[in-house]
Symmetry: C2
């Protein structure tokens, strides 16, 4: 089906010549060709215009030849479709002028018809599939319900999402109502994305690691697991929980196809917690891409040796930073392609 | 020696009736009596004036009767004494107008005579000891060299301390020179504090958990361990590494008397990693103090049951937040005092 299906084979746990590689946020701010588009079009115009989103998605593939593309979009298109105003402020990040704090706020949140409200994403997927021309698979994604709640309640990025936690700890019933609405929307959204052509879906739980293990079960994993169960006959699901090392054992027992891990866990421990059966994805410190290219190659080779080449997808432990030199990103990808077991 | 020596007995691993309790940042922004002083005196005036620092230190003891006091001060008094300009901007946090980035910057950093440059801290300790009147022990503290480097290089707080990491990963020799200067200063400083009367010292590694396990060894633990070794005949050392669960096993093999853990690890895992011999300190999510008092008491009791009452110091997993109601802080302390094994 694809000229290069390494990524899908690794998700299935098949034996491969070398592990596949892609980078979180690979369609992004470190690429001059991306910056050119960003100079002309604002953030949500880029997300909503299939020609732009698809072009941005394939830019890194053209330059570096990663083994998978990931659709350019944003986790906050979901709350936007749910009747929550979301802006993206330059040099600030997400800004939600009317954060969710009360019963009335939660009542006003809708579970939308995603085929209407998020049709632009489906069109972007179709346009991307044409550009990719069966070279590599395409990944779709969504934020975890907890991570989406964080933004909806806090109203912006935060070091500790204190208002989001306050909401959950003082009004847990209300929090669960909101989380369920987000979950229902996300399930419909991801199913629609699979129909439109994505080959796998990744759920990003960027802020799960801010919760205690007990609170994580209650406010985050429960809902990610609902998504995984709902999608299990549609496409492979990859769950990436930043800082969620403590839940790896539990997560590995679910129907996810792979687990993403960040750089604060070493490969041996990640395998120990997650067991030998599941594919892992990660986990170089994104800041380590600032090291000289020769050192990057050494780190990547060591990382593959430690994870093992099978049941493994090479990636960073979080998104690539805007200030990474192009040659350094290339060294990361090339090191994987040159890998010899 | 002290009317209440629970804290020191727990550090020694002795059997206790109940575990001791204190809260990181207990002398701080959630207390109306603290806010009154803050309205009159700026941050570094409060640190530098023994009458103010000692009064602030004992305020929480008077109100709640914790089992230990911790001297009101700041980790950034160290770089200040090392010839690095440090300001504390209201509603912003630390601001270092001339961040360290080059060989010349590092050359200009001095290892000061702490008995001169930081004499005001020693005077604050003596004033505090008088106010405490042998009721409870007094803890002194310092930032870990890595955490201090983070501020010195970044120049301010940060979500990912990208410039600090860039400095370490592109100029590692220079980073180690700076880390050694900070370490030498910190050792002299903590020894002087012990002479002035503190009963134990805690090293706060607030940003250690932003490093990979390998980089943590190289840029953080190595220096904390130097401090621990240098202090081992002076006073008990407690190492608190936020997000440093991955290093607990290694840390437990050192000469530290106790290890602080944050709320993203459950008590059972913390004991498993650190072994049964070392005293642990922690670890309720500071945001959980927003729960109703009755729930706080349940969480605290459960936490003591899970850590076990011996070789354990009850604390939060990080500093108390400014918006915690007084009754909720009281519920936390009272739950420990009412604990029955």
């Amino acid at each position: 089906m694809y000229k290069n299906d390494l990524y899908l084979r690794a998700l299935k746990g098949e034996t491969v010549e070398r592990p596949p590689v892609w980078m979180m946020r690979q369609a992004g701010r470190y690429l001059p060709e991306f910056i050119k588009i960003r100079e002309k079009y604002d953030f949500f115009t880029r997300c909503r215009t299939p020609e732009l989103a698809s072009e941005i998605t394939v830019q890194p593939i053209r330059r570096y030849g990663m083994d998978a593309a990931i659709l350019f979009s944003d986790i906050l298109v979901i709350p936007q479709a749910m009747n929550i105003e979301v802006e993206m402020k330059p040099n600030f990040g997400p800004w939600l002028p009317n954060p969710i704090r009360t019963q009335k706020d939660v009542d006003n949140v809708i579970v939308p018809d995603v085929t209407v409200e998020l049709d632009y994403v489906m069109q972007a997927i179709k346009a991307t599939k044409e550009l990719l021309n069966n070279e590599v698979p395409l990944i779709g994604f969504a934020g975890s319900p907890w991570t989406i709640l964080c933004y909806c309640v806090q109203g912006q990025g935060s070091k500790n999402f204190d208002k989001a936690k306050e909401f959950c700890f003082t009004q847990p019933m209300l929090a669960h109502t909101l989380l369920q609405k987000i979950t229902d929307t996300t399930i419909a959204y991801l199913k629609e994305k699979v129909k439109a052509g994505v080959d796998a879906v990744q759920v990003f739980d960027s802020w799960g690691g801010m919760l205690s293990p007990l609170d994580y079960q209650e406010f985050s994993w429960k809902y990610i697991n609902q998504i995984t169960e709902a999608l299990k006959d549609d496409a492979p699901v990859i769950a990436f929980g930043k800082g969620c090392w403590f839940a790896l054992e539990e997560m590995a027992k679910s129907n996810v196809s792979a687990l993403g891990v960040d750089w604060t866990i070493n490969p041996q421990m990640a395998r120990k917690f997650a067991g030998d059966k599941i594919t892992l994805q990660g986990n170089m410190d994104p800041s380590r891409l600032l090291s000289p290219p020769s050192e990057i190659k050494k780190i990547v080779t060591e990382m593959i040796n430690n994870f093992g080449k099978d049941k493994y997808i090479v990636n960073l432990g979080h998104g690539i930073l805007p200030n990474i030199p192009l040659d350094n990103a290339k060294a990361f990808i090339d090191a994987v392609k040159e890998y010899k077991a």
